[in-house]
């Protein structure tokens, strides 16, 4: 069957995500259709019903239920997968908190799409950025190869640190665009990703209660053991995310050793060695930025690109190292935190504070609701930011928008 043979295949992003889940031998899939995610679920239901993937596929009645099914399936020891976009992800919001709070290694493919009102089915990253504070690890793919590889790695990461992982990729730009993708053999993936061994499991032989009402302060249980209060449990989730960077890097390195594509860094770097101007972007926009950087180099500027592969946990120290030599940092965001600025720009500024870096930072909001963003527009924004370098005004209060207002 197409998509299951090892070797190079021409796959769109949704197909790559489905193949990634299949190779990860997921056992329970629950999903609700939404544009542009739907083909992921169609592929997986085809694998399951055709007998090519030993899993249960549950065609639930809403996204909220999809994540509820994954949550409980994970709790009884199954490897689970779901996918959504935009309003579907927003509708999952409650369950996103619930899954992370329960420390379940659920994997969700988020096919990035704008959020209404007004209605729009095209790409930006407002949906996953809106879920930033739910306690999920967020990985952003630049290509269809990275989608497939990230899904497989996501299971290893999640099942090591017990934090769910959202693999995000741009709707249409990746989800519906075909590219050559190197599909690893099931045997190689099996050697990389052993079957899921749950750290905790609902078992009639050893009954437990999960997610009871938990008071603010630690409390002694019926057996006389002092148990964590709500705040300690929250602290442990934060600690898990703080430390997840090491696991993400080591899993990426191991993946590279086996499959020849290394993901040892939480960032993607392009021509940073001598760059005094750095373009920062996330997802497929980071690829577009490479074209812009090359154009600007042809014009005589020393420009590099910093792509954010992992947004949560945010790789603060890596960003500081990568931007150490930069004099101008131009951050492009396909999202906006209304009343403030693009979410990744805030992160960059926060990471650089107190690091000794003195770069001028400019932020541009681009590509909302599928607005096409061309490499020459990215280059234009960099050129527009050059005077700021001479003036030495480090920061603008608000971002500029590349739109017709």
């Amino acid at each position: 069957m197409l998509g299951s043979k090892a070797g190079t295949q021409i796959l769109d992003g949704n197909h790559a995500a489905a193949v990634g889940a299949k190779l990860s031998r997921v056992q329970v899939i629950a999903a609700y259709p939404i544009t542009p995610q739907s083909p992921v679920t169609e592929k997986l239901s085809e694998y399951v019903e055709g007998g090519n993937l030993k899993a249960e596929y549950v065609a639930v009645e809403s996204e909220h239920s999809a994540l509820a099914v994954c949550s409980s399936a994970s709790l009884v020891g199954a490897r689970t997968f779901t996918a959504s976009s935009s309003h579907g992800l927003a509708y999952m919001h409650e369950m996103l908190h619930w899954v992370a709070g329960t420390r379940l290694p659920v994997i969700l493919a988020c096919v990035n799409r704008a959020i209404g009102a007004p209605w729009n089915v095209l790409n930006d990253q407002q949906d996953s950025i809106s879920q930033r504070d739910t306690g999920w690890i967020q990985i952003y793919a630049r290509t269809n190869q990275e989608i497939l590889d990230s899904v497989i790695q996501a299971y290893k990461i999640a099942e090591t640190v017990y934090v769910p992982v959202m693999v995000c990729y741009d709707g249409y730009i990746l989800s519906h665009t075909e590219m050559p993708v190197d599909v690893p053999s099931p045997r190689d993936v099996d050697s990389f990703l052993p079957p899921y061994k749950p750290h905790t499991i609902l078992d009639p032989a050893n009954p437990r209660n999960y997610n009871l009402v938990t008071l603010a302060n630690p409390r002694v249980n019926a057996e006389g053991v002092l148990c964590h209060g709500y705040m300690e449990i929250r602290y442990l989730l934060q600690e898990a995310l703080q430390n997840a960077g090491e696991t993400i890097a080591s899993v990426g390195r191991e993946f590279g050793g086996l499959f020849g594509r290394s993901y040892a860094s939480m960032l993607w770097e392009y021509s940073l060695d001598d760059a005094e101007i750095v373009i920062v972007a996330m997802g497929s926009l980071a690829m577009e930025a490479i074209v812009a950087a090359d154009t600007l180099r042809d014009e005589g500027h020393r420009v590099g690109v910093l792509g954010l592969r992992v947004f949560r946990p945010f790789p603060k120290s890596d960003v500081v190292t990568a931007l150490k030599k930069a004099r101008l940092v131009v951050v492009f965001d396909k999202n906006i935190s209304y009343g403030s600025e693009g979410a990744t720009c805030s992160e960059i500024k926060s990471a650089l504070y107190g690091s000794g870096a003195n770069a001028v930072i400019r932020n541009f909001v681009v590509g909302l609701g599928g607005r096409d963003i061309k490499a020459r527009e990215l280059a234009g924004a960099v050129n527009k930011s050059l005077p700021a370098l001479k003036e030495g005004v480090l920061n603008d209060e608000y971002p500029e928008w590349i739109c017709h207002i």
Partner: protein, 282 residues
């Protein structure tokens, strides 16, 4: 001498936003004919269009709100009924119509449907049932007949579907009917009757989806499904809703199944306010 039959000319233009046309529906889709029946029903009913508000959810049928020249509201997925409830209670003089699909009203919005019926909200629901999620590409949903194929049940659906009239009747709807878009006249009259009648009126409208559901179930053209309706439909007004469940092969029982009286939510509200006021004045 040859006699000529004068065909009554009824244009739908008055209540359509012509600047939004052409519409997005596929050739052979059942939504267009259902919208035609609705517009003629508005004319038949004698209701003032300025006092009608139309609410849609998400999906192909959700697009109806954008094409009608009425106050209309295109809402989020599954939430047409809560939006409509707000409209109805904010302005009880409005005649509120919800025009949405089976996926929207019965899957993600299923909870709102049973509760709006239970409260007997004064509104008319036109539920276009094409047995699948059309907008997202033909996935199965809670109305997909057993064994029918879809993009997420490529080897046949293993789930039993809702018997929709039975569900809404049991939930408390005071008017329940089902027609196919082939039954254009009956559908038109039924919508007019439902709009005039106070309380929760529900009309299930079966319509072809040749691009997706039809193509996967041996009805690749809209006309194939219309022929299927012609062959399999049985008009049984007053049929017990529990007996009108749909299977892939038919029969399709159509007609008006429920037409009863029960106080609406707003009438109950007024009653309790009057009672409280009377007590205060004692």
């Amino acid at each position: 001498m040859t006699s000529t039959t004068k065909v009554e000319e009824r244009t739908l233009d008055s209540l359509l936003r012509l600047d939004r046309l052409p519409h997005i529906w596929c050739p052979g889709c059942g939504i267009g004919p259902a919208v035609g029946c609705f517009i003629r029903a508005v004319e038949d009913s004698g209701l003032n269009p300025d006092k009608i508000a139309l609410v849609s959810g998400i999906g192909c049928t959700g697009r109806v709100a954008g094409y009608v020249k009425l106050d209309s509201f295109h809402t989020t997925h599954g939430r047409a009924l809560p939006f409509a409830t707000g409209l109805n209670l904010g302005n009880p003089d409005l005649n509120v119509v919800v025009f949405s699909g089976d996926g929207d009203l019965l899957a993600i919005g299923g909870n709102h449907l049973i509760h709006a019926a239970r409260r007997n909200m004064d509104m008319t629901i036109i539920c276009l049932n094409n047995f699948n999620y059309g907008m997202t590409g033909g996935q199965m949903g809670p109305t997909t007949p057993l064994d029918a194929r879809s993009n997420t049940s490529p080897y046949g659906n293993i789930e039993y579907p809702f018997n929709v009239p039975y569900l809404v009747a049991a939930s408390g709807a005071t008017y329940v009917a089902r027609w196919t878009v082939l039954h254009a006249r009956q559908l038109e009259w039924s919508i007019a009757e439902a709009m005039i009648k106070p309380g929760f009126s529900f009309i299930e409208v079966l319509g072809p989806c040749p691009t997706l559901y039809g193509r996967m179930n041996k009805q690749p053209k809209g006309m194939d499904t219309m022929h299927h309706y012609q062959e399999k439909s049985v008009v049984k007004n007053g049929a017990d809703p529990k007996d009108v469940g749909i299977t892939a092969e038919g029969p399709i029982v159509v007609g008006k199944f429920v037409d009863i009286e029960r106080p609406t939510f707003w009438e109950q509200c007024k009653l309790v306010i009057d009672r409280a006021q009377a007590k205060k004045n004692e």
